[in-house]
Symmetry: C2
Subunit: 409 residues, 2 copies
């Protein structure tokens, strides 16, 4: 066997159920929304190895608590995921946890699956109890509609304030010659901040992967995707990133070149979904990429970039396309990373605006025009080391305030 | 001598030059603003002991670097402070530092004061060089106008985006029977976040205070005032809190009861100024007090309260008077402090909205009305210990976005 380079191809019409052995079903349970699908069911024809990252918020939604415990009990026999939108089942106490448990156990019966084989995810308003009976009726309907073509409908069913569904599929030709597929879907447009960054994200694959490697691959992929985005700096109660590998391709990820390619593929899928979430950020008018290099290490680069991405002053300036280098330099200064201001070099849209601790005499109007675009690049070279990171965020608009200030009805 | 309780009285028309032996002068140097005073000079008739807290931002303005070094050389022989508005002298490199040094040294000559006796503070735009010659002409004019009645004019001269001046004076009757006065002024309406919280704040007193105690008193006062406010979470390059004690009252702060009273008085002045800064927060429509109790310690209480105060989702909800307890609970959850959600009790405007890990069935309309006020109280009891803190912040409005998104002209 000749070792070759890995090849990655995003499939134009790919989705969460594109990898072999996956089916999706959706239904309208009407637990909160009217006249739209609000339940998505993902089912694998074989048991999966699973890995997940959950919110670091100390206030965790019932499904997060349930899934964390389930993953500890069983990381190799998962076969389905039930997701509902409309109600997050967070801040719901013991009744909320009982509702999630009932959802999982009844789903296992409906799908004729063994005990401890179903994950549950919920997204929507906090503090409202989940009407389990209604939800189970929806799950039954979704189970009758299972089909490998239903991935796009699933991505749509899990939306809340999202303005468009977010899904993709990637084909990976491994260096060893085998071919696998990854599918992904995500939702989330507010309360977006790392650890975990998105409310809900699910990734499927047909590769054969052991759970230990799957977990480390997910951590690595998240560090270069979901942990690199910020919309408003709030870490939610429900954030979950879950990956399930059902092995239906028969291709095992075992040698180190294939492992590297798998991590790379998983990272590409995570980045695509994370970027879609930022593009759909509440009230966002610009998609902003922040490239930090020259930090002492990658962690410091990420911390510096995330501090810029979180600054309300930077985000409002970018809404106004104001080339306000001072706010970016100021954010670097309080980011907590090692910094020597006179070594920092800053570019806005490719134009150098700051060097040697001083602003350059740049053309403000030209810089304004470079920032007055749907996609904007900010580059910060700290000039100290080899650490680098790429962060994605959006601007802070009137519309953000409007969406989040409106009195709930 | 009979030991008695301390008495504190804010003086209706008090200001920075109210304590004995202080004079202020103002002038228009026209370094950036047109047709308004932009230079303030504070001069003591005797050398002062000094203590200061400076920004923790690694990008420090030239006057911050100068004052830090000066304070290390001389903490007992300071006699004047020069403050200019319009130009912050930050991100100005070596020329900026030379400008501050020239300002200090020439001011010493103009005022016939010894070397190393003048502090310099600057506030305004970042990245612009200070025209020293013009500034010195202004300082000369201000020196000719020195008068103990000019405190209010000084508070006005240091304003930038502030909509009103911030100053006060406090009379303290000490337990030992002596009487001293404290004067204060501050400016700042954006880039407001602790360490240091305000752009510039100066406090004078006529008490006799040794520099070591003065520093610890200032740290203690700041921890209950400037370190407890947040407007937008950005820590500026120029933040400075300076206190000068000239001893002209002849009253020495020596016994422990008097020391406690001095700290209390200094805290009251700092709190008054810090609260005025929040009330003047860019685009603020509400003044919000967050009382946290039941934390494991005071530091944890402050961290929890500041996390709530910084949350864009909480601040936009408060702009809309939305009783969105979920966002407050969520912020507590990611604040990083020890938390057991089922022990948390939350009140909005005195109305209990959350307990035992669950929202109460409260009257949403009544809660909305309680939040739809110019002054709003949020109380969070973490139910774990004795730690408590009070935080002051403001809401996040359309106007905040407008002020900070406008393209600089």
């Amino acid at each position: 066997m000749i070792s070759q380079e890995a090849h990655f191809t995003f499939l134009d019409t790919g989705h969460i159920a594109t990898p072999k052995g996956w089916q999706a079903g959706v239904a309208a349970s009407e637990i909160r929304y009217r006249g739209r699908n609000d339940v998505a069911l993902l089912v694998s024809e074989r048991p999966c190895t699973a890995a997940a990252l959950f919110t670091t918020n100390k206030v965790k939604a019932a499904p997060v608590l349930y899934d964390q415990a389930l993953l500890e009990r069983n990381s190799t026999g998962i076969q389905a995921v039930v997701i509902n939108s409309g109600i997050a089942n967070a801040c719901t106490g013991e009744p909320g946890l009982a509702a999630t448990t009932a959802t999982a156990e009844n789903s296992e019966k409906i799908l004729s699956l063994p005990k401890d084989s179903v994950f549950v995810m919920s997204t929507g308003v906090i503090g409202m109890q989940l009407p389990v009976e209604k939800l189970l009726l929806g799950i039954k309907k979704a189970a009758q509609a299972l089909d490998s073509a239903n991935g796009p409908a699933a991505a749509r069913a899990i939306m809340t304030t999202d303005t468009h569904p977010k899904d993709c599929a990637l084909q990976v030709l491994l260096p060893s010659g085998g071919q696998i597929q990854l599918g992904g879907m995500a939702k989330g447009a507010g309360m977006i901040h790392p650890n975990m960054a998105t409310l809900l994200s699910l990734i499927t694959t047909d590769a054969v992967v052991n759970p230990t490697f799957l977990h480390s691959a997910l951590q690595s992929a998240a560090d270069r995707s979901f942990h690199c985005i910020s919309i408003d700096g709030d870490t939610s109660t429900n954030d979950t990133l879950l990956v399930l590998a059902n092995g239906c391709s028969g291709v095992e990820i075992s040698d180190s070149a294939d492992k590297k390619a798998f991590i790379e593929g998983l990272t590409l899928v995570c980045q695509r979904l994370a970027q879609e979430i930022v593009r759909d950020g509440e009230g966002a008018t610009r998609f902003i990429t922040i490239e930090v290099c020259g930090a002492l290490n990658d962690g410091a680069a990420r911390q510096a970039g995330m501090t810029i991405a979180k600054s309300s002053l930077v985000k409002t300036a970018l809404f106004g396309a104001d080339p306000n280098w001072g706010r970016v330099v100021c954010a670097l200064g309080y980011s907590g990373v090692e910094l020597e201001p006179e070594r920092v070099i800053l570019h806005f849209g490719g134009m150098k605006v700051f060097e040697h601790g001083l602003p350059l005499d740049f053309d403000e109007k030209a810089a304004h025009n470079l920032l007055n675009m749907p996609e904007v690049l900010i580059e910060a070279d700290l000039g100290l080391g080899e650490g680098k990171a790429t962060i994605w965020t959006c601007d802070f608009s009137y519309e953000y305030v409007k969406i989040n200030a409106e009195y709930r009805t």
